[in-house]
Amino acid sequence: MAESLLFRISESPIDVDSVRSSLADDRCGAYAQFEGWVRNVNEGRAVERLEYEAYTPLAEREGLKILEEAQARFGITRALCIHRSGLLELGDCAVIVGVTSGHRDAAFQGCRYIIDQAKVRLPIWKKEHYADGASEWINLRT
């Protein structure tokens, strides 16, 4: 079912409740959800806000591939992932992943796979703005 997998880049705040309720499914006994939140510190520096830049056409296409892989590997029933772009404040939800399945093993594994892959494969970049006025593109892979 095409509608069982959905990946979106969103310029506006994520409506967390509607993510979960859109996945409600009587066939599923398990629901796993992960969220990345903007935290007030990174590697010892006080963070004031974050900025995400996404190249949306490709991020959404590659994001959907990740969901399809998770469904093929773990047999999850439905999955939804929304990643923010733009300016985010402390505590804001930067990314949410919701996964349903018959049992909890698949839900946990699928949810973990999606967020892990999303973090390394999608054309989405994070810039941290610090309390001291500086800012920096974050890049943990080099």
């Binding site: 989405i124 970049w125 943990l140």
Partner: protein, 80 residues
């Protein structure tokens, strides 16, 4: 010699100071092209962990470029 459109993202856009630029270069692949453009934009640094897309498809650094391609250079993503 090929003619392509190059687009820079995030840290690369800041390093080059441009969002997009037409490029004529003697480059067979995205890897060649990046190395040539690094001479023009020394702040780019190495392309370790960077990604490339051609015409909105994720691509290998060693595919053959064609005239008119749009080449997107993606700096390493945050990973965390």
């Amino acid at each position: 010699m090929i003619e392509v459109e190059v687009r820079w993202f995030a840290a690369y856009r800041e390093a080059t100071g441009v969002e997009a630029e037409p490029v004529q270069a003697d480059a067979a692949t995205p890897a060649d092209l990046f190395d040539i453009l690094r001479e023009r934009h020394p702040a780019l640094g190495s392309r370790d962990a960077a990604l490339v897309a051609v015409n909105d498809e994720m691509a290998d650094w060693e595919i053959v470029l064609r005239n008119g391609d749009t080449v997107l250079f993606f700096p390493p993503v945050a990973g965390g």
